[in-house]
Amino acid sequence: MTDLDNDAHDARDENDDLDGHTIDELSDYLDRGRTPLDPSIEGSPGCRIALSSLERLRQISKSLVEVDAAAEAPRNDDWLGGILESIGREARAGRDIPLLPPSPRATLSVTEGAVRGLIRAAGDRSGGLIIGRCRLDGDVTAPGTPITVSIDASVFWGERIVETVDRAREAIYSALLKHTELTIASIDITVHDVYFAQVSDQEPDDAGDGSASNEGGAL
């Protein structure tokens, strides 16, 4: 499947796998404190994955807004919009990733959507970056096939990119080892943005790697 095919497939399935809901609706639902409880949202794994991602992103973006205000710097909403778009697209169930069954009359699996959610959570929690787009390249349905995990990320200003990415890669690899039986060939993390996110008394380290990819919003 080509990237073009993948993108077309992504776009076609984006709302299907949120069971008819959109990211905007889910965002409004979070604004209302998930009340009244909406069974069609709470009963949808895709929506639940997207809600988890949105909640994490809100925590992070809240601090970004505060910092932006303090720094009186313009905020780049495209950056946030891109991540929101990825969350909606990647919450879809996708392919079934098999686990070794305990008997011939059983099949065990993890959905691709659950694994993408897992990768996003592990990366975000490793600190210093936010996962944007995440893709599993290779036939995940065939055990033993080498799989490449391709991730786009934004790193916060002041973080050393190499160390931050290494930390995220390790966290993601651990999570994948724990929850899947995929043969991970590589975890490729591409940093597309550096975002001003932390107020610090110290000047950012000029010798750090951040300057190399300084294309983020509010620097």
Binding site: D19, A106, T107, L108, G117, L118
Partner: protein, 106 residues
Amino acid sequence: MIDETSASAASIDDVVRAVPGVTSVYPQLPEVLGLPTVVAGLARDVAAHLVEPTVRIRIGIADADASRAVCERVHAAVLEYLLQTAPVGTPADEMPKIAVSVVAIG
């Protein structure tokens, strides 16, 4: 633990919900689509005639335990329940297949 769970459970969903590590049990497609129970039942009957009878379970799990470990627990609990509720003397190979899918983690 599985014995206690299975003995008192009213349905497969109850059995699955009681398995440690399971945080959610998601409905299958007819319920997701909001079809009436009767129609959903018919849809399931038709599907059972087209393919080998399979109990399909979709679960959300906590991050604490490995997916495989939780899936195996769910499989064991459901198999136990099916064996207890099947007519006496039903051969094991006539039991439905069990498919467990993790659809959300954490």
